[in-house]
């Protein structure tokens, strides 16, 4: 009886692959696949939390806009 497959292939853009490969140099990750699996698990676990918007009071929002105006980027 054939052994059930435990992994499958997912495509990612080559530039991203190379970026990850560079990033994991000298870390405990032995392959890009290991790293991507780790990141995806982390992302999925925290997705619910991440999708919650930060609550901005009107005063806080005005502080950010005031900063942008002071820098000349907003009218």
């Amino acid at each position: 009886m054939a052994e059930e497959r435990k992994h499958t292939t997912v495509s990612i853009p080559l530039p991203l692959y190379r970026k990850i490969k560079k990033r994991i140099e000298g870390t405990g990750f032995t392959s890009v696949s290991d790293y991507v699996t780790y990141v995806l698990r982390e992302v999925l676990a925290s997705l619910e939390e991440d999708e919650k918007e930060e609550v901005f009071s009107a005063e806080e929002e005005e502080k950010v806009k005031d900063r942008l105006r002071a820098l000349g980027y907003l009218d």
Binding site: P13, L14, P15, L16, R18, K19, K22, D50, E51, E53, E54, F56, E60, K63, V64, K65, D66, R67, L68, A70, L71, G72, Y73, L74, D75
Partner: protein
């Protein structure tokens, strides 16, 4: 480039948006700029801005002119882009500490009070602000976004450039984009 798409460079002030505009120009893209805001000590190579972008909350009638071109749209104004247009956005990210340091220097030069909000509070506000903006952009079907770290770009330019070229479906000159980077202008490191 697709003449139906509006290409955008966005991010917080002092996150490398002007550098990205220059890189895309050198790489072969057409920019939508008016050069009203001239180069100064904060941006010696220029701002690459189009003043009418600031009017977006009230007037987006100029937007068709931007199709097939790259225009700089500050993070805050992304929220006001009309839904009936497709956008490809390069969104510049940068270490928040560096952004705040650089913004404060710019405020001093502009005669503004850089201590109006405490640094720690501003850093927290900007982090939350960016998080909300990412959620906003992620929910928009007409916005395709590529997040580029200014810090990564300065550390490993070729990797980021490769990512940008692919995001724009090729057609850019990576060597010329690389040559547009002046490492001497990476002045506010934390």
């Amino acid at each position: 480039m697709d003449q139906d798409i509006v290409y955008i460079v966005s991010g917080l002030p002092r996150s490398g948006t002007s550098l990205m505009m220059k890189m895309l120009k050198e790489g072969g893209m057409t920019l939508l700029v008016d050069n009203i805001r001239e180069a100064d000590a904060d941006n010696p190579k220029g701002y690459f801005e189009f003043e009418r972008v600031k009017k977006l909350p009230r007037d987006a009638s100029w937007l068709p002119v931007a199709r097939g071109k790259v225009v700089k749209v500050l993070a805050e104004l992304i929220k006001h882009l009309p839904d009936d247009q497709a956008y490809k956005i390069v969104f510049m990210m940068r270490d928040i500490d560096e952004i705040v340091v650089s913004q404060k220097k710019m405020m001093v030069r502009r005669g503004e009070d850089p201590e109006k909000v405490h640094d720690e509070e501003m850093r927290a506000l900007l982090r939350s602000y960016l998080k909300n903006l990412k959620i906003f952009v992620g929910r928009k079907n007409n916005m395709d976004v590529c997040y580029i770290s200014y810090n990564d770009l300065m550390r490993e330019p070729d990797l980021s450039i490769e990512e940008i070229v692919e995001f724009f479906d090729g057609g850019l000159d990576p060597q010329k984009m690389r040559e547009a980077i002046d490492e001497d202008l990476y002045r506010n490191r934390v």
